[in-house]
Symmetry: C2
């Protein structure tokens, strides 16, 4: 099977952000909330997390209009101990809730050295790396995890969709800005699968297996029958499970069989759980010493001998940094099929389309 | 190639523990320290972490006698913020240092909800799961990571041994005791490779690649030419790197090119870094509610439909629990080659051999 050719159109970050904000506001979100979510979604697009950017707008708009999101949430922060807090998102858009959790973690960690902030009553919050990165911008280490907003994985040995791709993001400050690891506990995220489905691109073996036969699925049209494979087999399954316990069960949020498939259901409350940890580097080694040492060691890794055929050694966050620079300058590439969807949404909501911005 | 048959001998946990304690004490460790290390090493053997149990005794004895360990360390705990501490191990045996760090984390977390305790000046501490489990026994979530005591992995794309198998362990309380995830960021740990080398067992493809050719290594005799493969390719490489930053660089401990190969060098100071996090469950949801919910969800996962050919769904820690029960009752199986090594060590130190216990 050959991949069909996919045509792209470049849109400016400002245009994308404006479209998202206007659509969310037209669908009922207060303007400041719409702007905040639009900023984070556009940042996801800029940094190459395509499955968490404007790609999600039609779904978010549907959910806002259907009442699946609380359009005007009262996000509540409860300090449960000197170094811990729990945020109740009141069923708001996840970006708003987790942003608040990350800000809370940074504030507490400044005082206590480390903060662990759990979230319940939240929703899909998009790109994991963005929330870890917030702490790194304050000279802290940031860690983020979440119960994914749909179960696309089975526990190792099982074939029921009871676990999510539960992501882990870790960000640390360096001399040249945050270094960010942002990984799903599956070989690829479901967003990557959705992107392949949208673009009709075949998938390599090792991403998805058929839930009945266990055979690899490479045809994007059959993705709906698939189970995502965890990294490292039982290890990735165990890691996803444990992150789900920490981000979900510990916060009294949904896990496993109680998770709502956010992609298939626009109205049920998801009670999504998330987790943000912030650690103040200055409480361990001086920030200057830390960033100098990170820079020294990362330079040694980059400059180390390479396997045959490898042109450059890439470290966590390299791709997102390069992608951000390129897209900020040249625009965000959007598949034609997505642009058509976005035009429909904009027209329905009576806001300017991307082409009119 | 067929695996050569390996003969095993069963030794009681009390016998193994006594041998370790007597040998460490005879090699210069104070008796209480020798007993504490022996307890943790025997627990590693009981729970199936064979590469971190009595298997390590000859190496530890060599290092104690060669002066590579400080036999009488002054382990110092500095509270660096309300919820953080740094432990300086004064080059003591890692088990003593990390045990102190875990106890400190539990004590602080009781007060502040979460504690992050960094370690420097430490050494190889054996089984990661044991330190995470300590917090779980106190109704807390425990997380442990470390810079591995030798670099057996390259950064993704590289072929120099600059990264370790840097483990991650997460333990949570359940209604039936701690549930423990204990994983290396490589497909297998180097301890597993050593076990195969010791027993002459062939290795499956996917564990090790030749550092020059990139070809899989399956012959244990060629393991010395190998690079361990990370889980999930670049993801596991990135995770190992980040855990190394958190457990090493953040504590002012060794990382990357500065790491001493603890297996090949009995005298150089390793300056090993480790990390323990404890989180008090009661600060989020009640402990009873938490364990009940974990139990409910784990039962759902265990009872879920299975892939063809799978006889039972196993969750993190199942193997260690079953192994512990079996070995506590029937003894710890030790390969004959290891028993011979241990006999030599015991005889040299003038203590009773395993057979005499």
């Amino acid at each position: 099977m050959n991949a069909p050719s996919v045509s792209f159109r470049r849109a400016s970050a400002a245009g994308v952000k404006g479209l998202i904000a206007d659509c969310l506001a037209a669908a009922g979100a207060p303007r400041p909330d719409a702007e905040a979510v639009a900023g984070l979604m556009t940042e996801a697009d800029l940094t190459g997390a395509d499955a968490h950017g404007v790609f999600r707008l039609p779904q978010y708009v549907r959910r806002l209009r259907a009442g699946g999101f609380n359009r005007t949430p009262s996000i509540a922060v409860e300090r449960t101990a000197p170094a811990t807090a729990r945020v109740d998102g009141d069923n708001g858009i996840g970006h708003l809730v987790v942003k608040r959790a990350a800000e809370t973690a940074i504030e507490i960690a400044r005082e206590t050295g480390v903060a662990w902030v759990g979230v319940r009553g939240s929703n899909h919050a998009g790109s994991a790396g963005l929330y870890a990165e917030m702490a790194a911008a304050h000279g802290m280490i940031g860690i983020y995890s979440a119960v994914a907003s749909a179960n696309h994985m089975a526990v190792w040995g099982g074939n029921e969709l009871l676990l999510g791709t539960n992501p882990l993001a870790i960000a640390v400050p360096t001399g040249t800005g945050p270094m960010v690891l942002d990984m799903a506990t599956t070989v690829v995220s479901y967003g990557t699968i959705k992107k392949h489905v949208l673009q009709g691109l075949p998938m390599p073996e090792g991403w998805l297996i058929d839930r009945d036969t266990g055979e690899p699925i490479t045809d994007p049209a059959k993705a709906g029958r698939g189970i995502l494979l965890p990294i490292g087999g039982y290890k990735g399954s165990g890691l996803s499970l444990m992150l789900g316990v920490l981000a979900g069960i510990l916060n009294g949020a949904a896990f496993g069989r109680d998770c709502v498939d956010f992609n298939a259901d626009d109205t049920s409350v998801t009670d999504t759980g998330q987790l943000v940890i912030a650690v103040d580097v200055a409480r361990f080694v001086g920030l200057d010493r830390f960033t100098a040492e990170v820079d020294r060691h990362m330079a040694a890794l980059r400059g180390s001998a390479r396997m045959a055929g490898v042109d450059a050694i890439r470290l966590p966050g390299d791709r997102r940094r390069e992608c951000r620079a390129e897209r900020a300058a040249s625009g965000i590439p959007l598949p034609a099929a997505l642009v058509a969807q976005l035009d429909t949404v904009a027209t329905e909501l009576g806001v300017k389309t991307l082409g009119e911005r």
